[in-house]
Amino acid sequence: MKLYLSFTLLFAGMLSAATPAALLKTARSTGDPSYLAQAETEIDGILARAPLDFDAKKMRVAVHLAQHRYSEALAEATVLNKQMPDDNLLYGYIADAQIALGNYSAAEKATQWMIDQRPVNAPGLQRGARLREVFGYNEPALEWWNSSLRLTSSADREERAWIFVNISRVHLRLGKTAEAEKDARQALALVPAYPWALDALAAAKPAEASEILAGRAPDLASRYHVAKALEGAGKPAAWQSWESDAVARISAPDNVNRELIEYYATHGKLDQAITLGAEETTRREDIDTLTAYASALYAAGQLSQARRQVERALAPGIRDPRLLLLAARIAADLQDKVAASKYLKQAIEINSTSPYADQALKLLAKLS
């Protein structure tokens, strides 16, 4: 999920925490997590001088979310929410943490309250759009991402770039790769070298991924994407140093365990992938983590287990052709042609002219 945050409302009335806010913004613009550590130090300073500073405490939640310290952030946001139930963005932080942890029902409750409080509210619409994606409403999700874009000032270039990245993801899921590429390029026009836009562009144009991702920020997740892109392009990738760094952070809050599971699964280290997947899914049940674990199990031939995990990933209702293709392959290998056909048809229904639909059609033909 990276720095999946909206900062639109963070800065209103945040005089005492202005520097951390700027650092947080810079962290998202550059993808460099060192700014988050600086922001945290600044916040600690503010709270040492003024222990009751609500805005500083709220900013700390945002920093912890950006650092993937979701459980911590959730606990802190819940305390602040009790102090100031009218603070709309705190519900957004609660939703962010719950989404990251895979607690989609709790995330929906928090987001719904955000929207009940303020129906025309960009941060609320953004969380709602993300959940609409999770629940399988891709077009309505697109509608809310676009609404949030219209509500965001043209002066807030980074925020708009961030929204374009999200729109790109939905377009890609719908098989609209040209639109996804266009969205990513619009984000890059707003914030040159915007790391999340580079990721989005690489996803939309995999053939150019290694070039697109060259020069990405040095955080572990980014390094994984760069290495993966280079490997895909037949170029040498710095896997060894990445793996040792990733393993060193395996118990840290801002780990890259999801990427590590995927790395293990695709580099012949299936036992490690499955062990880590099993551990990680006890900590968080978000769709991406469950999908990574299911992929590892599938690669290891543990088909029944793989099926269980992919069904957990699909349970909220998400309609993602890539996930449906994985589910179909698992079902097909289990000789469950009915289920495999169902998943493939669902993948085709999302967009019958997309590259995913092509793959699904081919697999469907094989099944029959």
Binding site: D86, I115, Q117, R118, R132
Partner: protein, 518 residues
């Protein structure tokens, strides 16, 4: 004087941050009382949309058709509605060629001989001798209503029970219920009272309804209250001081006993408000042997949901989100903290236990103490609990106090007071038919609230650890003792809307103008 919270007073005009942005859903006041002229009935009045300037045309103040306005009654002492009345409005533009929503002159004015040439493409396309200005508006519908271009009709639904099991009954019965427009002025509406009375509709079974723009019956020195309690004390009683020597907004006993005179400026004078009133038989909203009811008003809008809804399916109650509610006056303004006001507005009263800490240690009491040096009781302020439970004078026979919930409680077995014996201070002045036993339009809830918060009902309390003497609570008040226009003694009991052309707001420095100002 130290700085005080900006949000205080004014029964409920723009008290919560979000409703301040949604004026049509903003409940200003809620009233419930046994009808003065028919003690077999009870009247509920829900006022919304604060401080309507009567001259503010051309469309004036329609109700919002996207809002469900509702009055709820709990008669089983669980703070959950057992009977509700819902009002929904529809707007029609009846004469799209008219230049304004309400217009009319005498018997109507035709295009004169020197009228401009008619172009077939012009919107008016009015030939010579054809009517340009319709006759003065003398009726809400039919002859005499041609100039009433913007017309609002409404439906009334009775809901018995709550949630999915509620039974809904349309009370409209095919009648065309028309909301009374604001009083544009004497040329357009030459006999406004007669016009407004046409907005009183009988629905059968003893039910009467009214909806429309009326005089705001609330009275207060609003500006002084919002200016951190900067009351104009030299206008009424100068000289009273607290033990620490701070001048107090206190009335003399003579002034306090005079319910017909204002010693200060009613800053709501000359303003209108949108009012929904319903009078029903008491038996319709009570259960046998349980004369006490708890009641409140709400405004709700259709919810925008994370999960898209099917447009072909009619929305259920759960599809609406509560924008605001009101039971007792001044609860959200005086008691609830600024970080919780919107949440309070959107929460059903049955979940009010979460706000109990605010009631048991009200910030407003501490503010009074800080600003004026007035001794106030120590927390927990259990003396305030009868306002939020079925306790004290509102105890349900044989029932528990029920949950903490902000409901306006009314003992329907208490006879209404005659006009001559009605007291603005209600129960504090020995008038058992007045606030907080329900609330009549004439009750001075500002002065009552100040004194109750200062501890006038606190019989076994301490202050700073020492015994607290409720008899020493000063006669706190804002010096505004009555409304700028007379109330009616019959349904809907409020005064008719001020004329847009001739309205008058009483300003500081003017004669206090009480009562019955033009």
């Amino acid at each position: 004087m130290m700085a005080l919270p900006a949000s205080s007073f004014a029964a409920s005009h723009r008290e919560a941050p979000l409703t301040a942005l949604d004026h049509a859903a903003d409940i200003t006041d809620f009233y419930a009382f046994r009808s003065y002229d028919d003690p077999s009935k009870v009247t509920f009045i829900l006022n919304v949309d604060p401080l309507l300037e009567p001259a503010n045309g051309p469309n004036y103040f329609p109700f919002d058709p996207s809002i469900v306005y509702a009055i709820h009654i709990d008669n089983t002492y669980d703070a959950v509605e057992d009977v509700s009345f819902e009002f929904r409005f529809t707007t029609t533009i009846r004469a799209p060629g008219l230049f304004t929503a309400f217009v009319g002159v005498g018997n109507g004015v035709n295009a004169p001989a020197n009228a401009p040439i008619t172009q077939t493409s012009s919107p008016g396309n009015i030939p010579l001798n054809a009517q340009v200005l319709p006759p003065a508006i003398t009726a809400l519908d039919g002859p005499g209503s041609a100039g009433l271009s913007l017309q609002q009709t409404y439906t009334v639904t009775m809901v018995q029970g709550s949630g999915d099991k509620a039974v809904r009954t349309d009370l409209t019965g095919g009648k065309k219920l028309i909301a009374v427009p604001s009083n544009v002025g004497p040329r357009t509406m030459p006999n406004y009272p007669a016009l407004a009375k046409q907005g009183i509709f009988g629905l059968g079974d003893g039910i009467t309804v009214f909806a429309g723009t009326v005089d705001d019956p609330f009275y207060i020195d609003l500006g002084a209250a919002f200016d951190s309690f900067n009351f104009r004390m030299n206008n009424f009683f100068a000289g009273a001081t607290s033990p620490s020597g701070v001048a107090l907004p206190v009335l003399s006993r003579t002034q306090d006993a005079n319910d017909a005179t204002n010693y200060n400026v009613d800053m709501v004078s000359g303003y209108n408000v949108n009012s929904i009133a319903i009078e029903v038989p008491i038996s319709m909203v009570t259960q046998n042997g349980k004369p006490v009811i708890g009641t409140w008003g709400t405004t709700s809008r259709l919810r925008t949901t994370v999960r898209p809804t099917d447009p072909d399916v009619n929305p259920s109650a759960a599809d609406f989100v509560q924008v605001q509610r009101m039971g007792n006056p001044l609860i959200n303004e005086l008691i609830i903290g600024t970080g919780s006001k919107d949440t309070w507005s959107m929460t059903p009263p049955s979940q009010d236990a979460q706000f109990a800490p605010y009631a048991l240690d009200p910030l407003i009491a501490r503010a009074l103490n800080a600003a004026f040096g007035v001794a106030v009781p120590d927390p927990p302020r259990t003396d305030l609990l009868p306002l939020v439970q079925y306790a004290g004078p509102f105890a349900g026979p044989g029932s528990s106090p029920g949950p903490i919930a902000d409901l306006l409680r009314l003992d329907t077995s208490a006879m209404p007071a005659a006009k001559t014996s009605r007291k603005r201070l209600g129960l504090l002045a020995g008038d058992t038919a007045g606030f907080p036993n329900g609330r009549r339009v004439s009750d001075d809830v500002t002065d009552v609230a100040l004194r109750v918060v200062a501890g006038v009902l606190c019989s076994a309390c301490t202050t700073g650890g020492a015994p607290f003497n409720a008899a020493n609570v000063p006669l706190l008040g804002d010096g505004v003792n009555t409304n700028d226009v007379a109330y009616q003694e019959t349904f809907p009991y409020v005064g008719w809307a001020h004329s847009g052309r001739d309205r008058r707001h009483v300003d500081p420095g003017e004669t206090a103008c009480a009562p019955n100002c033009p």
